[in-house]
């Protein structure tokens, strides 16, 4: 827009918005006489003005919206800088090693025992929480009792000059994460690393310690001999505790806490389904994460990875990862078993998984040996062996090769059979099931403006009249979605429904959503409720086919009528439809902030209930 045009538009705009509809039309006619594009510009701007004020666009103050950014910084600046050459008790700081989830790590020299240690100094926001520190102390104590070569040894947990620290053995090496960056791993190396991780887990699990955060960042590879060390046993729980207490204290500034340094919960990518849903976890969660890690070592990719955290979680809960590709079928079997969604179907102990990996490793070693000795390019004469004995040895190797080849052939046959799928051999149709995952974000309003930060609706909350919400919905498959709001029942009046979806403010007014699409409803503003108290229902209807009975509701989806179905007949149709189709209770999986609804059959009907006080 040129400055002249801008002046023109703004002059007409400022008078026009004070006029009512008819007067405005007349005014625009007069002012824009014949200039259709000028008129269009002004009308668009008037429309934007209306929407901007409806949505309270930039209605708050930037600093409130940006408060989170400032808090991050404030927390960072609280972390005291520890300098090279500084003496902390008996520790002389030699070098910073890096920053972890719980604080900074330094290379230090312990003058008492004249040994080099890694000194992890906890960030103040963690060490200032007494209850959590108590717990941390306990965990560190138990973890330090673990005496296994693949577990990083904890020397001391203490406090110097107000700083809480953890002194552990120092490993000259790199994390598996860094190692993966530079190397494509051989199968034998992958098995070797995995077995060492499982050996560490086996001994920790025996002591009833669950790691909870197995991932390449927590596995160190020693430079000189590739010895694996698993880090941070017992720490994940402390970090996790933090997040859940935060949730309990859910309040205005909680948003900021959650991403503040030190509260980072790691990645969701390695989380087991039970962990992703914030259910109770046990040793088997570590087995899952180890499976994910092996998968990553083999393919270089994550088995479960979505565009956002929520997408990833949904994948963890619902998707089967792509096969590993060109690897021994036995390895595929082991990884699939480790990553079975139901913990009861998984490897039950680290030891079982370790045993399977060990025998696979042995077999592959033997095969490699045969390959090597039978290969004509490497004749490798065995010095000092008599000709007769050597022939016997060769025969034995050949016999083994035949056995191995048939095992391989069997595996190839078996995997190709499983690939061609059940359609050929076992024509069992999978049960038809519809799935929806949803979460609700709440925005408090005060004096008609957003007030404080939005938060997720998780579990039971007192739903106040000032709460405005946005519903996010996603389905793993494409289909037709309808959402209705039914207010608290009244004795006299028949039920009336509000069409929440399809909507003029979401998904381009279409009721068809695509597979995996996250649909925010409404996209930009919030849904608000009237003052009437009681239980508000948000009815979700989802099907892969358009629902004929609900076809007529779209015409009521309009901001003018507040999306209310004003036609008695149509209300009756919706009411009957919901009543008849909601008799089968869908299965619910409630996570910390996500709920997944599954229903047998082609049609899913479910009501989200909001207690409205």
């Amino acid at each position: 827009m040129t400055p002249e045009r801008w002046q023109q538009v703004s002059r007409i705009f400022k008078s026009a918005i004070d006029l009512d509809r008819d007067a405005r039309a007349a005014y625009l006619n007069a002012q824009c006489s014949g200039d259709a594009s000028l008129r269009a510009d002004v009308e668009k701007l008037i429309g934007s003005h209306q929407q901007a004020s409806d949505e309270n666009f930039i209605g708050g103050v930037a600093a409130e919206a940006g408060a989170k950014l400032l808090i991050d910084d404030a927390l960072e600046s609280q972390t005291p800088a520890i300098k090279k050459g500084q003496q902390l008790g008996s520790y002389l700081i030699l070098d910073p090693l890096g920053a972890g989830g719980m604080g900074e790590v330094y290379l230090a020299r312990d003058s008492r025992l004249d040994r080099t240690v890694a000194l992890k100094v906890l960030s103040p926001d963690i060490s200032q929480d007494k209850r959590r520190m108590q717990r941390f102390r306990q965990e560190a104590k138990v973890a330090s009792s673990l005496n296994q070569p693949n577990i990083l040894t904890i020397f001391e947990f203490g406090e110097i000059e107000g700083l809480t620290f953890l002194a552990t053995e120092f490993i000259d090496g790199e994390t598996l994460r860094d190692y993966l960056r530079g190397n494509r791993l051989k199968i034998s190396e992958i098995l070797d690393f995995a077995m060492q991780v499982l050996a560490a887990l086996d001994s920790a699990h025996e002591a009833r310690i669950v790691h909870r955060d197995i991932k390449p960042e927590n596995v160190m590879i020693r430079r000189r001999d590739r010895l694996v060390k698993v880090l941070d046993f017992g720490l994940a729980k402390v970090a996790e505790k933090k997040a859940s207490t935060m949730q309990a204290e859910e309040s205005e500034a909680a948003t900021a806490f959650k991403t503040a340094p030190g509260t980072v919960m790691g990645t969701v990518n390695y989380m087991s389904p039970e962990q992703a849903q914030a259910k109770a976890v046990d040793e088997r969660t570590d087995i899952w994460s180890t499976g994910v890690m092996i998968y990553e070592m083999v393919t270089g990719a994550m088995p479960f990875s979505g565009a956002t955290t929520s997408h990833t979680i949904v994948q963890i809960l619902e998707k089967e990862p792509a096969p590993l590709g060109n690897v021994p079928a036995e390895l595929q079997r082991i990884v699939s078993k480790a990553m079975t969604k139901d913990p009861d179907e998984r490897y039950q102990t680290a030891k079982d998984m370790l045993i399977d990996l060990r025998s696979l490793k042995k077999r592959l070693d033997v095969e490699a040996e045969i390959e090597r000795t039978s290969s004509p390019t490497t004749p490798a004469p065995v010095a000092g062996t008599e000709p007769g004995k050597r022939r016997v040895l060769l025969l034995a190797l050949i016999a083994m090769a035949v056995v191995t080849a048939s095992i391989l052939a069997f595996n190839v046959w078996r995997s190709s059979r499983s690939r061609t799928g059940s359609s050929v051999t076992t024509p069992v149709a999978p049960p038809v099931e519809r799935t929806l995952t949803y979460w609700v974000t709440v925005q408090k309003f005060k004096d008609g403006r957003p007030y404080q930060n939005p938060f997720p609706l998780a579990g039971e909350i007192n739903f106040e009249a000032s709460y405005h919400i946005r519903v996010h919905i996603r389905s793993p498959e494409a289909g037709y979605l309808y959402i209705f709001n039914e207010g608290p029942p009244t004795a006299s009046a028949p039920a009336e429904f509000v069409v929440v979806f399809p909507s003029t403010t979401a998904n381009n007014n279409s009721s068809l959503i695509s597979a995996g699409q996250v649909v925010p409803i409404p996209e930009k503003s919030w849904l608000e409720f009237d003052k009437q108290q009681g239980v508000e229902k948000l009815w979700l209807v989802f099907s892969t086919q358009a629902v004929a009975e609900l076809d007529g509701v779209r015409q009521f989806a309009s901001p003018q009528s507040k999306n209310l179905i004003t036609n008695v007949g149509q209300n009756k149709i919706v009411e009957n439809f919901l009543a008849t189709n909601s008799t089968i209770k869908p299965e619910l999986e409630k996570g910390a902030t996500l709920t997944t609804v599954k229903a047998q059959g082609n049609l899913l009907v479910y009501a989200i209930r909001l207690e409205h006080h």
Binding site: M1, S10, G47, F57, I58, A63, F455
Partner: protein
Amino acid sequence: MTQAPRQHEITELLAEWRDGNQSALDELYPLVYNELHRLARRYMSRERKGHTLQTTALINEAYVRLVDQKNVQWANRSHFFAISAQIMRRILIDHARRHAYAKRGGGAQQVSLDEVAAVASNCGRELLRLDEALKSLAEMDPRRGQVVELRYFGGLNNEEIAGVLNVSENTVTRDWNMARAWLYQQLTGSGAN
């Protein structure tokens, strides 16, 4: 309370700026930036349990600390607010930019398992987009750009803005409506150019 070291100097710089010396602003800027930034961080670390950041309270405090109160004219105060709004904008945008870059990239997502976090991490990016749109607005129409800056970044109400810009409150309201509608159009992509 320790007194800011260059109180007298800042008061003079404000006066010079008001009298049309633009280079005074260059000197003033870093001083006020540092003070506001320090205060904002202190506020946020102390009051993170449930208090929202009161921008005007913050600027007031900076003003009291930075400006020699015995030698002050009221006009200085509005100038101070005007520059403070600008600086609050810079502070937030600097933070947002740092966040937008710091949190980008890497295969695995750093998360706290929470939709709220996602909402919050968006706020940085949204601020950056708004800032860009506001720059274009200010090019076409400096005064309306300033109204948005004073209100949204400086936390001033229309009456205060009217004082700073020396126009009527009605004008501020109209400017605000127009500017907001235009910014909305830019950010939602719903408008003509």
